[in-house]
Structure formats: structure tokens, C-alpha cells
Amino acid sequence: MTDKSWPLWEVFIRTRNGLAHRHVGSVHAVDATMALHAARDTYTRRGEGLSVWVVPSASITASDPADKDMMFEPTATKIYRHPTFYEIPDEVGHM
């Protein structure tokens, strides 16, 4: 980064109360305060936001796609975690 460029921030917006913040994109800003301003000006021009989070992009640790099998495959066979695995007679009603 040269002296004239600014760091990258990831922007998360809550569009309605009751919903989780959702990733919408990123902005360049010199610090957290200005990142919030930039996020507001860039991503909420049409009333999309009630709350904004900004996170330095460099602070995000992501799983490596190469580890996908190790990370996520083992759960695929554990079907007993799902309610449909268990048979309950219809007469019992909704459970």
C-alpha cells in the first residue's frame, strides 16, 4: 500500500430489524469512522439500511477451499441429526 491508497473494509448491512447483518460489498477508507461514512454513502442510497458494520478486510480469516472435504464433508453422512430421519406414526400428529 502506498501512502496515497486506503485500506479495504468489508461492509455488512442490516436491512430490517430482526434480520442479521449481511455482507454487501466493500469500501476503501482511511479509518473505521470514515469507513462507516463511506459504507453509508455507497450502500444505503435507497433506504436499504438500519445498521451498518464495517470490518477491516485484512481481519477476516477464511477457510481454504482446498480444505473443503475435510471441513464440510464429514457432516453429510450424519443424517440422524435431521428430524426426517425418525419415523413417527401419522396418528401421533405433528411433532
Binding site: V30, M34, A38, D41, R45
Partner: protein
């Protein structure tokens, strides 16, 4: 009902909002970073929106069938009543941000107070404008602090902007007989009551920005009664060009 104090007053508010909005719109596409293009766009749109509501109301008060465009596009500089501060050229980024700070630090509490106006339309416009100006104040203050306490160059530019624009700040607090009557009727805000709050805001921001506050010397004045700087004529010659070149056309 012509040229009543209320009409005069509403046009002052409208013209100030339009001219500052016009100035900010000149930045879009030319800012230091895209994020600031968007910020200028938002602030410009806020101000143009305020102007439109106020012009429509002025047209109603006047009752001669002039709409927002007739008022914005077909009055000459001598009939414009904006304060001189907002017609000053954009200059560099520091000049624009400091101008925004000086105005927003006034306009934010002004519109907050105007929400209590006995005039329901003005109170409603003020309620919206107060929220908008709160953001303008926050944004321009943050920038002024960063420029003032940034590099030697940015400090010098920010200080030059403060010094250059300071003589235009006195006009915001003037209250002539036109407004005095409205203040007494509970319609308008007495700007003198906002002086202490403005002083405090500006002193805090300038101090955090390591900028020095100029002395209140001789203040420029006259915009609110139609005596402008040379700049306004050029703004209007652009703004009004199409309406003047094609009289009576609908766009």
C-alpha cells in the same frame, strides 16, 4: 399576497439550500476518491431536496402560480437571497469541506429549532433537513479534523480555507426586521440564539484539527437582501441556461 416576510424568509432558506447543493454537485466525478463522489452526491441531493420543498411552499405563499422551477430558474441574481458563504467557489477539497462545516454547524441546530415553528410546512421541512444536516456536520467535521491534523500541506490548505471563509460566517447570525417579526410570531428561528452552540462546535472541531480560529473581524454581508459576490451570476448563468435559451419550454 406578495413579497410578505414569510415569502422573503422562505426564499432565503430555499436559495441557500439550492446554491450550496449546486456547488456540491460540481464535485461529482472529480473527487479525491469515489467514496467522496458519492458523499458529495448525497449531500447535494439533500440540499436540492430541501430547496425544492421550500420553493414549492414559496410559490404557494406568493399565490401567483410560480412553481419551484419558475422561482429557481427565472429570478436574476439580485432577487436571490442566499447567504454569501454558500456561493463561494469550491476551491480545493479543504475549502469545500470547511465551507460545509461552517454552514452545517449552523444549519443543523437551526433546522432542529425550526421544527418547533408555528408554520406547519416549515416545521415539516425542518424535521427532514435537521437529520440531513446532522450528517453533513459529522462528515465535514471528520474531514476537517483529518485535513487539519494530517500533513503539513493539508494543514496549510485547511487553515487557508478557514481564514478565507471566516468573514462570511457572520451573515448566518443576522436577523433583520423582516425576520424579527416572524421570530416574534413563532414562525422563524432567531439565529442569535444559536451563536453559542455554533461557537462551541466550531471551536471543538478546529481545536481537534489543530487549526486556529480567526478573530471575528469585519464580516461580509448582503446576500440575504440580494447583494451578492460576483460568483452568483456565474452560477445562475449555468443553472438557468436552458430555461433562458428556450423560454417557455417544458423539460
Amino acid at each position: 399576497m406578495t413579497d410578505t416576510p414569510l415569502l422573503h424568509y422562505t426564499l432565503r432558506l430555499a436559495d441557500t439550500a439550492l446554491i450550496l447543493g449546486h456547488r456540491l454537485s460540481e464535485w461529482v466525478g472529480h473527487s479525491p476518491v469515489i467514496e467522496e463522489d458519492l458523499a458529495f452526491g448525497n449531500m447535494g441531493l439533500d440540499l436540492i431536496g430541501q430547496a425544492r420543498s421550500l420553493y414549492s411552499y414559496a410559490g404557494e405563499i406568493e399565490g401567483k402560480g410560480r412553481d419551484e422551477d419558475a422561482l429557481a430558474y427565472l429570478r436574476d441574481a439580485g432577487d436571490y437571497r442566499n447567504i454569501l458563504l454558500v456561493e463561494q467557489p469550491n476551491g480545493d477539497f479543504a475549502t469545500t469541506m470547511v465551507r460545509q462545516l461552517l454552514y452545517a454547524a449552523f444549519a443543523h441546530p437551526y433546522f432542529e429549532t425550526l421544527t418547533h415553528s408555528s408554520d406547519a410546512t416549515l416545521a415539516a421541512v425542518a424535521a427532514k433537513a435537521a437529520k440531513e444536516m446532522a450528517y453533513h456536520l459529522r462528515h465535514s467535521a471528520e474531514w476537517t479534523i483529518r485535513l487539519g491534523d494530517g500533513t503539513d500541506e493539508s494543514h496549510a490548505r485547511a487553515q487557508a480555507a478557514v481564514d478565507e471563509l471566516w468573514p462570511y460566517t457572520g451573515e448566518m447570525f443576522e436577523c433583520d426586521e423582516i425576520e424579527r417579526a416572524l421570530v416574534e410570531a413563532g414562525v422563524a428561528v432567531d439565529p442569535a440564539t444559536l451563536r453559542a452552540r455554533w461557537d462551541k462546535t466550531i471551536s471543538e472541531v478546529l481545536s481537534e484539527a489543530t487549526l486556529s480560529r480567526p478573530d471575528n473581524g469585519y464580516m461580509q454581508s448582503g446576500g440575504r437582501v440580494g447583494r451578492h459576490s460576483e460568483h452568483l451570476g456565474h452560477i445562475l448563468s449555468e443553472l438557468q441556461f436552458l430555461q433562458r435559451a428556450y423560454p417557455g419550454a417544458t423539460w
